[in-house]
């Protein structure tokens, strides 16, 4: 099974966990396939998408290297705190439209409670600690989320 996994996605071979900030969209299926391990019984995913609050688009900006470092810290905290086996996080930057994917968090654990709680923890920490910003663009103008 593991051999099949890497045959499908050779670009991720040797990558233990995925922490990525990218302008490109991502495949949830690929991340989940890589998250499956023999000691994992539950995978919880959070997918953030651009909601239509009367906006036309959204600009997402990051302090890339600092954001990746902080995401790695959060991942390590969550793995220790909730007994997660694996955490993968992808956050998009750039110009996004309503319905586009913004962020993906995939938490793998032996049991569902650990995976749910770990995923929730990571999301809340991400929102408050990781240097990423969203600017909502509408016909009335633009505003930075959180200000």
């Amino acid at each position: 099974m593991k051999v099949m996994k890497w045959q499908y996605f050779p670009q991720w071979q040797g990558v233990k966990f995925l922490i990525e900030i990218t302008e490109k969209d991502f495949s949830i299926d690929e991340v989940i396939l890589n998250a499956k391990q023999e000691d994992v019984g539950a995978i919880v995913i959070f997918l953030g998408i651009v909601r239509n609050d009367g906006i036309t688009s959204m600009e997402v900006e990051s302090y890339r290297m600092a954001a990746i470092s902080e995401l790695e810290c959060i991942r390590d905290e969550a793995m220790g705190k909730f007994g997660l086996r694996r955490v993968d996080i992808i956050h998009r930057v750039g110009s996004l439209n309503v319905g586009d994917n913004i962020a993906l968090i995939v938490c793998s654990a032996p049991h569902r409670k650990m995976a749910f709680e770990g995923c929730s923890f990571i999301l809340e920490e991400l929102k408050s600690r990781v240097p990423i910003w969203k600017k909502e663009i509408s016909e009335e103008g633009a505003r930075w989320v959180g200000l």
Partner: protein, 92 residues
């Protein structure tokens, strides 16, 4: 000494994305904010609150490590430091 300044979100719109400033040796984080406020008229009201501290909407990092907006204002900067200034984070 030269300090690299990286500004994000609303501060990028005021300061521009990335710049380098020349400060006197021994300058502090607050000195840097004062210097930037002198260069950019729109900045002072956003950066400082009425008591002269950095406002709650200002977040600072020195060499990618978060600073306390009150306790670390008098932190002395060093040649080549990278200071980041940004507004509240809102990822996810």
């Amino acid at each position: 000494m030269r300090i690299k300044v990286k500004a994000f979100a609303i501060f990028r719109e005021i300061l521009g994305g990335e710049s380098e400033v020349e400060l006197m040796d021994g300058s502090t984080v607050k000195d840097l904010l004062e210097f930037l406020s002198e260069q950019h008229a729109d900045l002072r009201n956003v950066v400082f609150d009425v008591s002269g501290y950095a406002s709650e909407n200002v977040f600072l990092m020195r060499n990618r490590t978060r600073l306390d907006r009150r306790k670390d204002l008098l932190l002395v900067l060093h040649e080549g430091d990278e200071m980041a200034i940004f507004s509240p984070m809102a990822g996810g």
